[in-house]
Symmetry: C2
Subunit: 394 residues, 2 copies
């Protein structure tokens, strides 16, 4: 096991009607002048935003609104938010929405007290030294941004999609009411579930040995997702299944299932180029890319893939030929994704094989972004995209 630091100071407030406590928790965590950041009209139409505003007003907390966050959130709105916060003397950002809204809020939070361009934190040119407080009212189980110190933003000019991370942007609190997710359509639900599972797999495939506790915690989240996801696809209003998935999504990404080991994250990087180019859902892109990545890299550690197959998918271990078990696990993962309505190929995603050279170029192999389980060359990344065009283990 490697040395590690683990810090997850977010106060999670989970359950029915919890959004009514937004004002109470903003006050508890020191907010006095709030930027209420959100996306499109659904938070307004559902009445959620109204309930949050009532709750703030009841506590005497001032707020300014900034809506319009898009999926794959853009730098342009971040710049607008930074300017607005400075003008209004904002000290606290409350994100009402999913991962895109939260990530946009985190970017604004880092940008406000920073003299330079906030993109420096995403390009790797600088690290943040301060940030406004961020908190969330979560509306979709997917990104895990409600409990993480991470944020991903897309640069509109050129479509570069990059991440930044710091404990400074871990939310002060996150309000999580699973009822809010009961109206999500099956496709978005499945995209979210895929993202959650991918967050765990990125941590599960590691070269660090002897981290049984982290392995088992990874498997705990994955086993939960394998049980609960088909239930919400079949019965979207199932509160308990929604609740299990929502909390699993948070546990998947606070990093408690990743400590003490080297992690991978290449599937995320390879997928980001797809959603940046085609503006597809991140979860759908992961359903295409992550099994393709597995198909390409499993020979690097057949026994680890076999362990996943046995412990997560319930496969029988082929003791004489562990490779059969490893491959069976990948097939089972794809079958599961298919069963919840996810795409598995480039064609199903609307991606074009002829774009592969451009995708690989943009990934920027020279940027040192491919450490982890297997260090990938440009040829490896090309091969993974090609597998996604025509998968074999299916």
């Amino acid at each position: 096991m490697n040395n590690f630091q683990f810090y997850s100071p977010t106060e999670f407030v989970f359950g029915k009607e919890s959004e009514k406590l937004a004002g109470h928790y903003v006050k508890k965590h020191g907010g006095t002048n709030v930027l209420l950041h959100y996306g499109g009209g659904s938070a307004i139409r559902s009445g959620l935003l109204g309930r949050v505003k009532e709750s703030l007003t009841a506590e005497g907390i001032a707020f300014t609104e900034l809506g319009g966050v898009q999926p794959n959130p853009r730098d342009t709105l971040v710049y607008e938010g930074i300017k607005l916060c400075r003008e209004k003397g904002i000290d606290f950002i409350l994100a009402v929405g999913g991962g895109s809204v939260i990530d946009s809020s985190k970017a604004i939070a880092m940008g406000v007290p920073y003299d330079g361009d906030f993109w420096d934190f995403y390009s790797g040119a600088n690290r943040p030294k301060a940030a406004l407080s961020v908190a969330t009212v979560l509306t979709i189980a997917a990104a895990g941004s409600e409990g993480s110190g991470d944020s991903v933003i897309t640069k509109e000019d050129g479509g570069l999609k990059r991440g930044a991370g710091s404990d400074l942007i871990r939310p002060r609190f996150s309000i999580m009411n699973p009822e809010l997710t009961c109206t999500l359509p099956p496709y978005q639900t499945a995209c979210g579930a895929t993202d959650i599972m991918a967050h765990v797999f990125e941590r599960y495939f590691t070269n660090t040995t002897e981290v049984e506790i982290t392995d088992r915690l990874c498997e705990a989240v994955l086993l939960t997702m394998v049980k609960e996801t088909p239930r919400v696809i079949a019965d979207p209003a199932n509160y308990d299944a929604r609740a299990n998935i929502m909390w699993a999504g948070t546990v998947a990404h606070t990093n408690i299932v990743g400590v003490g080991r080297e992690q991978d994250w290449n599937s995320h990087g390879i997928e980001h180029e797809l959603s940046a180019l085609y503006d597809c859902a991140h979860g759908a892109g992961l359903a295409v890319i992550m099994p393709a990545w597995m198909e390409h890299v499993y020979p690097h550690n057949v026994l680890r893939f076999a362990q996943a197959a046995v412990r997560i998918w319930g496969c029988q271990m082929d003791i004489e030929n562990p490779e059969n078990t490893a491959k069976e696990g990948i097939v089972r993962f794809r079958q599961f994704l298919r069963s919840i309505g996810m795409p598995l190929t480039f064609a199903e995603l609307g991606a074009k094989p002829e774009d592969i050279p451009a995708l690989v170029e943009k990934f920027g192999i020279g940027d040192g972004r491919t450490g982890g389980f297997v260090k990938l060359s440009a040829e490896d990344i090309t091969k993974i995209y090609e597998i996604a065009v025509d998968p074999q283990l299916i």
Copy 2:
């Protein structure tokens, strides 16, 4: 799933030589004038206390020492610590030791800013509204106090052992170097492992349904303990096994494996009377009491006990007679405890059957302390002690 709040703001600093960072983290978390609280001579003899003091001095942090914490920590030293902290203007308590030292530190931390008797928080007469900051340098994997908001203190006059809980006493940081536990004798190691497993079982047996994620996280910790504990008993200096157990002990008790559900905690209450009367190790008492509790209550929910047997102990499910599987799980738990050198009976613990009426009396059945999985009467508690005298499922 029930509504819940989960808040674990402790910064965990885990790994080799991490104690050298004590000064850095005290400073980071705002401490300027520290009470260094510890137990007997082992922290001094091993050189640990010296390294921590060097680290504080290097950061220019003043400190006052208070040693002498005993296992099953006493109120008398807490009063002494409160007086000392007030005299010296202490603003930060650094516990160097195990659960007893940490629990004593937490009691002092709550007592200093409180006008009344700190025991009010343990008797249930009052709730704390403020506390000094507490942090830890952990030396044994067991109590989980390094990541919890709980503390247990024994009143020397009368031997009353009671707990208090508040988010205010969650440690600001906990430094966890598994190397420090490599010299622990097998008996203490096994006592610690038993305590860790008990913390999970207290949360696992619940009447709340549909909390798959929490079930699976519980099982993750238990599966880790079942694998790693025999390894450290056989090879005490095995760093990786020690590291897995140390982190499992923290995960077991931050409450991340307990959220969203009613919990039990009767085995802890019933055991506390034993360790208060006989001054035995808490973990050894739990090895005797918890399986006895299971033997008494399993008919309340046979399928839940069968699930534990299948998922934790790898038993085959007897589909026609789940009770057989439930009972097999309890037998397997006792076999495991025996294999790591734990006592299973009153006699092995040095407890006396003729004391049972006094133990039941002192438990204080009228205090409303027996909610949870099965609400126990005085007769139930008597029966559990009697089973511990002469277990059947063994």
